[in-house]
């Protein structure tokens, strides 16, 4: 029983970067942009978040809240920058979305590792790491008595602030798509840009905004990998595959932000499974394969049973040009 509680607790913590990546990509795809560069944007967010934290420590005086805020903002901006490049190429210059996304992944991975090493070179110790005070900012929060409630305390009140931030974001996004006027317009843009355009919606602006904000959210996911998962140290290739899992999770979440929370927890759980339920004689490598194998299985299952309303926005992957004929 304890094992299960611990696993769930660890699953939430491990699933949060996946959730952020998924949310970012859902927002992006809702505008009709299939951005395969999530991995790249997460890398950009990761290294920039670290750099932001370090810079805040240096210039804003010491560790703590400012460093965390710096990491959050800068990682968002870095992810948004990646998405801006993508948006400019695909929306304005109408480049192929698939290839542009892949390029963004190559570029972002290079960006992350390159500047990660540069940060290391420039620091006195030879590797880039935030101070302990900043590290503490990314530790689970203790809510006093609430956190001490048996089971519930561990399940609900024992996470770092980004976890709560992400869940709130997911709920906000679900409301946005379902109820708000802007959300309705955005869905129309992703489904059928020509129709949205004819209805007087500024398709270009919606696409840019959704993609850039989506990229920023992915960037925060990357920052989580660096600050929480890797404890605020630059680890070469630290995002490794999480961005791609996030792209896949969008499909399992059926483009529904609320459902993405559940998917994030499940896949977070799969990545940490071996630490809680080890099977004797089963090599760790096979455990490490599990999330990827499950992804494939779910991909196949969802492709077998297609539904019209819970599927990818129809224009996803295609660029829009009003005067095309």
């Amino acid at each position: 029983m304890d094992n299960i509680i611990n696993l769930l607790n660890a699953a939430v913590a491990a699933g949060t970067p996946l959730l952020l990546g998924t949310l970012g990509e859902i927002l992006t795809e809702k505008s009709g942009n299939l951005n395969l560069g999530v991995e790249g944007m997460m890398f950009m967010g990761a290294v920039s978040g670290l750099a932001g934290g370090l810079a805040a420590e240096q210039w804003l005086g010491g560790a703590g809240v400012m460093a965390a805020v710096g990491a959050l903002l800068i990682s968002f901006l870095a992810g948004a920058l990646g998405a801006l490049i993508y948006s400019f190429l695909t929306i304005t210059l109408r480049a192929n979305q698939n290839v542009t996304g892949l390029t963004l992944t190559i570029f972002g991975t290079g960006f992350g590792n390159f500047f990660g090493e540069i940060l290391g070179q420039r620091s006195a110790t030879g590797f880039a790491q935030v101070t302990q005070g900043t590290q503490a900012m990314f530790q689970p929060i203790h809510f006093g008595a609430l956190s001490d409630i048996p089971i519930l305390g561990k399940l609900l009140f024992s996470y770092n602030w980004i976890v709560y931030f992400s869940v709130a974001l997911a709920i906000l996004m679900a409301w946005f798509f379902k109820k708000s006027r802007t959300g309705l317009n955005l869905r129309a843009v992703g489904e059928d840009p020509a129709t949205a355009d004819a209805a007087g919606i500024n398709v270009t602006r919606y696409k840019y905004l959704a993609t850039i904000v989506g990229g920023g959210i992915c960037g925060i996911g990357g920052m989580y990998m660096c600050m929480v998962t890797c404890n605020g140290i630059w680890v070469h290739g630290c995002v490794s595959g999480y961005g791609w899992l996030a792209v896949a999770l969008v499909i399992f979440a059926t483009w529904n932000p609320a459902r993405a929370i559940l998917c994030g927890i499940i896949f977070g759980g799969l990545t940490v499974l071996r630490m809680y339920f080890p099977i004797k004689g089963l090599a760790t490598q096979f455990y490490d394969m599990v999330p990827y194998i499950v992804t494939i299985v779910v991909l196949v299952i969802t492709s077998i049973r297609q539904s019209r309303e819970h599927s990818q926005p129809k224009s996803c992957g295609n660029n829009y040009f009003r005067e095309e004929r």
């Binding site: 390029t103 499909i251 077998i304």
Partner: protein
């Protein structure tokens, strides 16, 4: 309502699709884009406090300066070129195979098992077996997602990508197997192959480069002159038309994807047998992704891909040398490759469309 009525004024800039463009002009645009990427990279180098001219010069020097450098560059070109051609087969069908990394590893694993378990056989036989095993293993590894794509339209981008991580974990698993390790070491590492399992060299580079050139010509003929090639171009343009024409789209998809992945598998063999002499986690080393760039920049043309792969190999080799000479991380290669591709993707727009600025109506009416 009157407030909404604006001054009579046309938009500042509009774009119009070009009917056609002379090849010369198209190449000029691409040349400018390349220059743009290099200048952007240069600015980046400048902000890091280095002299961009010096760094670029040292990159070229590192790639082509000495005979050994050239050999190393060619060695990097081989996997990029062959994988790029493989990927282009799939891309021509709009099958987004980004699993070349895993397919290379699948081929490498198969070739390595021959090298580990059958190295008592004659040299030529071992090599042929390794090549065949790699070709088939890679091909089958790529056929799996193609099968699901054909049957249920399962998203191939993610499927092929997930297969990369599975193959990689399997390589790590093999590194931990005692029977694959060097008996004198407990370090998790596959042992070096004996000479029976190593490719011979011609002009100082393993014969993979000859194989690569043969593949270039073969791929060109396959794509432009054969029925298979014709089928690929029809399926790629419109699966609907292909079905209408009585083509078995599923079979063509699976068959072509087998070939695409088999070429990647062959690269796995060339890497372990020719280049590295053993199987490691870095046997594929990002080639599967970089080769996408090669295929795209080469416009899926095998001959153009020779030039592109050589250029990218130069970037990688050069980045390695600036790491030592200027202490710039070698990841700069990825960064630069990404930049160049960004510029190249963007410049296609100016080849397909032309911009019309306000007040230039007359010209347009004439042109």
């Amino acid at each position: 309502m009157s407030k909404e009525i604006r001054e009579h004024q046309e938009p500042f800039v509009r774009m119009v699709k070009r009917a056609s463009i002379e090849p010369k002009k198209a190449w000029l645009i691409r040349g400018i884009a390349l220059l743009g990427a290099i200048i952007t990279g240069g600015l980046l180098i400048l902000t890091l406090g280095h002299n961009p001219f010096e760094v670029y010069a040292s990159m070229v020097q590192g790639a082509f300066g000495k005979k050994i450098a050239i050999q190393e560059t060619v060695k990097l070109t081989i996997p990029l070129l062959i994988t790029g051609i493989g990927i282009s087969l799939a891309f021509k069908m709009r099958f987004w195979n980004i699993g070349a990394e895993g397919q290379i590893l699948a081929g490498a694993i198969a070739a390595s098992s021959i090298a580990i378990y059958f190295d008592h056989l004659p040299h030529a036989i071992v090599l042929i077996l390794m090549g065949l095993a790699a070709f088939i293993a890679g091909g089958i590894y790529g056929m799996i997602p193609a099968f699901f794509k054909a049957k249920w339209n399962t998203n191939e981008t993610l499927f092929t990508l997930m297969m990369n991580y599975i193959a990689l974990q399997f390589v790590i698993f093999l590194e931990h197997q005692a029977s694959w390790q060097d008996s004198r070491s407990t370090f998790p590492k596959v042992r070096m192959f004996t000479d029976t399992a190593r490719l011979p060299k011609v002009f100082g580079v393993h014969i993979g480069w000859i194989i690569a050139l043969i593949i270039v010509v073969a791929a060109f003929i396959y794509l432009t002159k054969t029925k298979h090639g014709y089928e690929i171009s029809v399926v790629g343009e419109s699966a609907n038309t292909a079905r209408y024409a009585g083509m078995n789209v599923r079979r063509i998809l699976v068959r072509t994807m087998f070939l695409s992945a088999a070429l990647a598998g062959l690269v796995g063999f060339l890497q372990v047998s020719g280049s590295d002499g053993t199987l490691t986690e870095t046997t594929a080393g990002g080639v599967g992704f970089t080769a996408i760039t090669v295929a795209w920049l080469g416009h899926m043309n095998p001959f153009a891909m020779v030039v592109v792969s050589l250029f990218i190999a130069m970037l990688e080799r050069g980045s390695n040398s600036i790491q030592t000479s200027h202490n710039i991380p070698a990841s700069a290669a990825d960064l630069l490759t990404g930049l160049i591709l960004f510029f190249m993707l963007g410049c296609e727009f100016f080849i397909n469309y032309k911009l019309i600025f306000r007040g230039s109506r007359k010209e347009e009416a004439n042109g």
